[in-house]
Structures are given as C-alpha cells and as structure tokens.
C-alpha cells in the first residue's frame, strides 16, 4: 500500500463524507462546512493521484488544486453571505420547507 494511495482513499472518503453532510443536514452553515470538506477531499485525491510520478512532483495538479482552492473560497464566501442574508431577512438558518426538521 503506497502512501499516495492512502491519501487518495482518504480523499475519496472525505468527499463522500462531505456529500452525506451536505444532503443530511438542514443548517446552512453545516451544509457549507460539508461542501468545504468535500472540496478538501477532492483536492487531496487530486494531488495524491497525480503525486505518484517518480522524482520531482508534477506541478500541474498543484497549480490546478491551487485554482480549485481559490474557487472554493470564493464560493464559500458567497454561500456564507447568502446564509447570513437569509438569516437576517427571514430568521431562518435553513432552506424553506424544512422548518420542522430544524
């Protein structure tokens, strides 16, 4: 079992864990956390899968993951702003139609 493979597997599990969290939880902040965890898993798998080259690591996936991280930060900040706005306009912390579930 090689080291990159361990991290690839961990990345895939993080991705699925995040997917579960995104679907199962109603609180918007939790959903955003879950999406971030998903993203981390994807990035980890990306780097690990491409990091098996012998010698110096391949710089291209590193650059791609950097781009991905920035994009995810942008999404996270907009998502948080939306969540705050929803909380302020309707005192809700989740999407409509799920009030009973909290």
């Amino acid at each position: 079992m090689s080291v990159p493979l361990i991290y690839t597997a961990a990345g895939i599990f993080l991705f699925l864990l995040g997917t579960y969290g995104l679907v199962a939880y109603a609180h918007l902040l939790r959903k955003i956390l879950a999406a971030n965890i998903m993203g981390s898993g994807v990035f980890m798998a990306f780097i690990a899968v491409a990091g098996r080259t012998p010698g110096a690591p391949d710089p291209v996936p590193h650059a791609m993951v950097l781009t991905g991280i920035v994009v995810t930060v942008a999404f996270t900040s907009v998502a948080l702003a939306l969540a705050v706005r929803i909380a302020r306009t309707s005192s809700r912390v989740h999407l409509s139609g799920r009030d009973e579930e909290q």
């Binding site: 879950a34 991280i69 930060v73 909290q102």
Partner: protein, 327 residues
C-alpha cells in the same frame, strides 16, 4: 523506503482528518463544528506537506488558518445574532431513505476505490514537459510557471471568480459591522504594531519566493489580507471618500492588468496570453504584484461581507499594509 514512523504518521494523519471531518459534521453545536473545521484545515496543511505539495500547503495554511476561519466565525456570529444560537441536528430521515443513501454512498466509495487499482503504475504527468519549457516561461518555479504562463488562462478566470464573489456579496447586502466596537486592548495594539510590518514583509517574501520556489501571489495576498483583518479588528477603517470608486479600482486593478497583458497577444497577431518573449518576465512580475494587492483586498472584502457604505466605521481598512503596497 518509507521509515517506520513516517508510515505510521501517514496512517494516523488521514484517520485524524476523517475523524475531524466527521465530528465537524455531527457535533450538535455549530461553534464547535467551526473550531473542528479550523483544526481540520490545519492538519490538512500537514497532509499537503506529506504529499510534497508545498505550494498547496502554503495556500492552505494561509487561507485555512487566516481567512476561512475568520470568514466562518464572522458568518456564524451574524447568523446567530439574526436567528439565535441553535443546535443543529441531521434531518430526521425515513429509514428507507437513510438506508438508500448510505448504500449509495458506500457503493460509490467501493466502486471508486476499486477503480483506483487501474491507475497506471508509472503515470506520465506533465512534469517533464513543464521542466523543458520552464526557461521560456519567465519564472523559475514550475508551479508559478503553470499558474501564470502555461495555464495562465485558468488563473485569469480564477481571479474573475474572486472578483465575482465580491460583486455578489456586495449585491446581497451592505456591510454589517461584526464588531459594534473595536477591540480595545493595549496588548493588541502593540501586537498589531509589530505584526503588520512583519506580515507585509512576509507577504513580500512569499511573493518574491514564488518566482523560484514555493510561494506566490495568492499566498502572499492571504498574508496581506490577514494583516488587513488584524487592523480591522483593532478599529482601523477606510476613509469614506476612499470607499467608493478608489476601492473598486483597487479591487479590479490586478484583474485589469492581467486582462490587458492577455490581449497583447491577439492585438499583435498571437494567441491570447501569448506574451512577447522579451516582455515575459516584467509582464508576469507586474501582473503578479498587482494581483497580490487586489486579491488581498478581495479576500478582506469577502470577510467584511457587504458593500462598504462609507458612513459606517468598518469598511475595509486602510492599514499600513495596504498603503505601503499602493505606493
């Protein structure tokens, strides 16, 4: 090959990461979830180090430790002050739905893991190709070369995404100060007085490093943003006359410079982003410096979370960091 403790480390770290992620998703208190997530980000940087991705590790350390944590805490505070602090539990699912989802996720995990065995044992990768053209790229560090030259188009659009995030956030709301009063503590003032120059210097160091070693514009910008946030916490603010057009100009400056550099190509009969060979180095340097400044302001603006109105005391601050960079 792998020494014993290192292998143990590599087994323990992913396990801890998964556990942290799990706890962060399941703990009923949201503040705890956010703290666990911050810890998760911290350890994630260690994972990047283990995967020999120092650039990603730097970015994760800068973003995860500085910006994301602050972003989440600020958002949590605002949400709680609007809707109250509540516990959050998973939706009560019907057992059938739970079983179905669980099975689907586990099946996906099994399928994906099983497909990994098909990965080539000796992958190609683009590393050698990047090395071969590194001399023509204008920088000496492969990751920076990919980001700013070989795949510069991705980076151009990525900066557009960041800019878009600010526009979207401003469109949603006006800035809500999350401090009703600045933190007043002589210790913090002293701390800031020492920290801001150090952050500015370190940002310059990372930016300079990026041309030949791990580092670069985004990481440097995150440090600058952290400096701006520190200044913000201790009550610094942007003068009202700066919060309009000048601020917007600073926000878009990096992107505009990048765009201008990009269209030199099509205007002179080359491809988009194809720099004239003699200008590659200075152009990339200029774009990188301006990008650092703009991205730092963009990241700060996302944490502030709304359009500065000029009248309120907490628009983006004009800290020494920002001013030093503008001149």
């Amino acid at each position: 090959m792998t020494p014993g403790p290192l292998l143990l480390f590599d087994l323990l770290l992913p396990a801890v990461l998964l556990w942290l992620a799990w706890r962060s998703l399941t703990s009923s208190d949201l503040f705890r979830a956010v703290i666990l997530f911050i810890a998760f980000n911290l350890l994630l940087a260690l994972a990047w180090v283990r995967l020999e991705a120092p650039d990603v590790a730097l970015a994760e350390a800068a973003i995860g430790a500085g910006v994301t944590g602050t972003l989440l805490l600020a958002a949590l505070t605002r949400i709680e002050s609007a809707a109250g602090r509540r516990l959050s539990r998973p939706a009560r699912w019907r057992p059938a739905a739970l079983v179905l989802t669980g099975t689907a996720l586990l099946a996906a995990a099994a399928g994906l893991l099983w497909s990994l065995r098909l990965l080539p044992t000796m992958p190609g990768g683009l590393g050698p190709l990047v090395d071969r053209h590194l001399a023509e790229s204008g920088v000496d560090h492969p990751v920076t070369a990919v980001l700013l030259n070989f795949r510069g188009y991705d980076t151009l659009l990525e900066v557009a995404v960041l800019l878009l995030a600010v526009i979207a956030i401003w469109c949603l709301d006006e800035a809500v100060p999350f401090l009703q009063q600045p933190l007043e503590s002589p210790l913090l003032t002293g701390f800031n007085r020492m920290m801001l120059p150090i952050l500015l210097l370190s940002a310059g160091y990372l930016l300079w490093l990026g041309s030949h070693a791990p580092g670069g514009a985004f990481q440097a910008a995150s440090l600058l943003a952290a400096g701006l946030l520190l200044a913000l916490f201790s009550g610094a603010s942007l003068p009202a006359q700066w919060s309009g057009l000048p601020l917007r100009l600073l926000l878009v400056l990096g992107f505009l410079a990048f765009l201008a550099a990009a269209i030199i190509g099509p205007l002179t009969g080359r491809a988009l982003l194809h720099y004239p060979p003699a200008w590659v180095k200075p152009l990339i340097l200029l774009v990188e410096w301006l990008l650092t400044l703009s991205i730092a302001l963009i990241l700060t603006a996302t944490v502030i979370g709304g359009r500065p109105t000029g009248s309120r005391p907490y628009p983006p601050p004009a800290s020494p960091a920002a001013e030093g960079r503008q001149r």
